[in-house]
């Protein structure tokens, strides 16, 4: 079956008003025949057809304005039967609108290092304002492009010597709004999810020694934190115990296709969010460190992508940094588990029958009893503990 579409009739034309047909169903047409009249910005123009065939169905209505490319009629190719045409019409997929979405390239202001000795970059207006306020423009920390000192920097420096800076109002209600969101999620979690809690002490002798050796070989920018080992161990354990990794919705559990770990990040002015690092089980520790660094930076700058916020399949909280020994968190609905790691500290442990002082951490699990039970939870924590004894395999 042949589709006759409104052709482009000129450089600046994207629409046209169809006036009348010069053919009727059943007519034979050949290349170059005039089949319709279309009104354009200049005048009515005869429109040709460039196919051979028999007119089958006239779709366009006279007087209707349509975009170039709109199907106006269908024709039977030479020798084609109406039945074949009908059959083909049913199997023809709906025209899929292909929209090429330009990937928005995040533009991050790169603060170039201030080369010592080079004249400080101070914008002319900042230089003038500094003179008025008696501030030494050269010594003000610059937040402008390439570390330049801007008017705002000078005024902030001047104000700093007087009163403590007030938190801008806009920031206040953003915090309140976040507080409300966290409160709603937590109370829903407590209402709907039957939590059970387990904890496990995990020796980190091997992990700590391996990390020190590994970091000694690496430059500062590639250094690995213990947090990365925790994330990878949880992700690998999820592969063995998939009932910890997924979402509970509309009364049934959907296991996660991959392990997207929500990382709990505290925001400086208060508030906590847990955006996801995707496919943690497939990523190297180096890659995880890069993802973690980038995620924290963007979380605190408030420029997270919506996909990262919405689809973690399990969450890990690492409050140990703040000196708490063990953490019993609240699961983020609709997830079904949350693993917490306390402070890495020197603990007395019995190792092969002897009492030894070694670095260790308390790993805790809060899980959804509708999906798994204590026995599965214990095996899951034991698997995390086993994995952390072989850091080189993570």
């Amino acid at each position: 079956m042949i589709e006759f579409k409104l052709p482009s009739l000129g450089a600046d034309m994207d629409k046209g008003k169809f006036l009348e047909w010069r053919i009727k169903p059943g007519d034979q047409v050949k290349r170059g025949d005039v089949v319709a009249v279309v009104d354009t910005s200049k005048a009515a123009v005869d429109v040709e057809i460039w196919n051979e065939g028999t007119v089958y169905e006239l779709i366009a209505e006279p007087g209707v304005t349509m975009r170039v490319g709109t199907v106006m009629a269908t024709l039977l190719a030479p020798g084609e039967t109406p039945e074949a045409a009908e059959a083909e019409k049913r199997t023809r997929p709906a025209a899929v609108a292909v929209s090429v979405q330009a990937e928005a390239v995040p533009v991050t202001a790169v603060a170039a290092p201030v080369v010592p000795g080079e004249r400080r970059r101070v914008s002319p207006v900042a230089r003038r304002r500094a003179a008025e306020l008696g501030v030494d423009a050269e010594s003000v920390a610059g937040t402008g492009p390439h570390g330049a000192v801007t008017l705002e920097d000078v005024e902030r420096a001047a104000a700093a010597t007087k009163a403590a800076p007030a938190v801008p109002a806009a920031q206040l209600d953003k915090q309140a709004e976040m507080r409300r969101a966290i409160a709603a999620a937590m109370s829903r979690s407590k209402r709907e999810i039957p939590h059970y809690y387990l904890s496990e002490r995990v020796p980190l002798q091997n992990a700590t020694l391996w990390l020190q050796a590994e970091n000694a070989r690496r430059g500062l920018t590639e250094r690995v934190l213990m947090a990365a080992l925790f994330l990878k161990s949880v992700a690998l354990a999820c592969e063995t115990y998939p009932d910890m990794n997924g979402l509970y919705r509309d009364g049934k559990f959907e296991p996660g296709a991959s392990v997207h770990v929500g990382v709990a990040i505290s925001l400086r002015q208060g508030g906590l969010i847990a955006p996801a690092i995707h496919d943690v089980q497939k990523k190297s520790l180096t890659q995880l460190m890069q993802d973690l660094t980038d995620l924290v930076k963007r979380a605190r700058a408030g420029s997270l992508r919506s996909s990262e916020m919405s689809d973690p399949t399990i969450t890990v909280t690492n409050l140990g940094d703040q000196g708490v020994e063990s953490v019993f968190g609240v699961i983020y609905p609709p997830q079904v588990a949350l693993v917490g790691f306390g402070r890495v500290a020197e603990l007395a442990c019995v190792v092969e029958g002897g009492l030894r002082i070694i670095p260790a951490v308390t790993a805790s699990l809060a899980a959804d009893h509708r999906v798994s039970d204590g026995h599965r939870g214990a095996l899951f924590l034991a698997e995390i503990r086993r994995l952390l004894q072989q850091p080189e395999t993570l």
């Binding site: 000129g10 123009v45 460039w50």
Partner: protein, 341 residues
């Protein structure tokens, strides 16, 4: 009002006579495909088709030698094709692909080809005339026995460039063959409504330049006249002016409602169509059979389909090349454009 189509024996060897027919059919099928592709949005911008005027390019181009210079206008698909620019590179150019004869930068109105000394389409009416005079001036100074063929429409006759160029060529006896394709309309204005003197040969004669009026629908007459005028120009006797009286069967460009002429006039001129009258004449002289005509047409359509495939398979010029060729690399200017640190 229209003279009857030419008849009588065709004074060329059979093989050359059939080549003239084939070339006209090739142009016709190419231009029809361009109209179709324009409707599909594959060809954009401005597009001026040669349908109806095929006899002029087909008859004239074989009269020029490889070392001659050709300067044409924005309705130049026929001249470019018969000068030897491949149909594939012409089609790719109209697609804007870098395999086009101008790297996809010029489009339909700016076909260029150094190998065949085809110095372009030109979108400025009359823009090519001074250039042609310049080429002839260079050949004159270097004592090259060459002809510069300059094609232009009747509309260009009203431009200052026409008068200044005709005078320079006549004054300095330069080897320019001015080929005026008089298709009776300058865009939407009939000749009599924009020229006080509508006899274009009389206008050219005023510069002391020999002229010739030729039936531009008769490929035989076009060829004979162009050969004779070309030899005269090549011999150094100075410029020559030929007026080919022809007619375009379609709009000036792809967006013109043709309000300025009535349909009957178009139909009347179609009875003098250059292809069907010439093929009928060949048949009456026993130089062509219907099967041979169908074979010629089939070959032309195949060449067009291959050209479209070549263009479809073409590639887009990388954006990094935007500033390439603004200058000649040998003396490339320092990085230009934008705030160059």
């Amino acid at each position: 009002m229209i003279a009857p189509p030419p008849s009588g024996p065709v004074p060329f060897p059979r093989e050359f006579a059939l080549r003239l027919l084939a070339d006209m059919v090739r142009i016709r099928r190419l231009e029809e495909k361009c109209a179709e592709l324009y409707g599909e949005g594959k060809i954009r911008g401005f597009l001026h088709l040669y349908i109806g005027e095929e006899a002029v390019a087909t008859g004239a181009m074989p009269a020029f030698a490889p070392e001659d210079n050709i300067v044409a206008t924005y309705r130049e698909h026929g001249q470019a094709l018969l000068r030897g620019v491949s149909m594939g590179s012409i089609m790719a150019e109209m697609y804007g692909k870098q395999e086009g004869c101008s790297r996809g930068r010029g489009g339909s109105m700016h076909l260029f080809d150094a190998k065949t000394r085809f110095f372009g389409g030109n979108a400025i009416v009359g823009g090519g005339l001074p250039l042609a005079v310049g080429f002839a001036l260079a050949d004159h100074l270097r004592k090259n026995r060459r002809v510069t063929a300059c094609f232009f429409g009747d509309g260009a006759v009203a431009e200052g460039a026409f008068h200044e160029s005709m005078n320079l060529a006549a004054l300095w006896k330069l080897p320019v063959l001015f080929c005026c394709e008089n298709n009776l309309y300058a865009m939407g204005t009939a000749l009599a409504r924009y020229e006080s003197q509508t006899d274009l040969c009389a206008k050219a004669a005023a510069f002391g330049v020999p002229t010739l009026k030729v039936d531009g629908m008769d490929v035989v007459a076009v060829h004979e006249a162009t050969v004779r005028a070309g030899e005269r120009v090549r011999s150094g006797k100075g410029p020559f002016f030929i007026e080919f009286q022809t007619y375009r069967f379609r709009a000036h460009s792809m967006f013109d409602a043709e309000l300025y002429r009535d349909k009957r006039e178009v139909e009347e001129w179609k009875t003098r169509g250059p292809i069907h009258t010439y093929s009928a004449r060949l048949k009456s002289q026993g130089m062509l059979t219907e099967e041979q005509f169908l074979e010629i047409d089939r070959a032309a359509n195949q060449e067009v389909d291959q050209a479209v495939a070549f263009a479809e398979g073409g590639t887009w010029e990388p954006v990094e090349d935007l500033l390439r060729d603004v200058h000649t690399p040998a003396v490339a200017a320092p990085a230009e454009g934008g705030a160059s640190r």
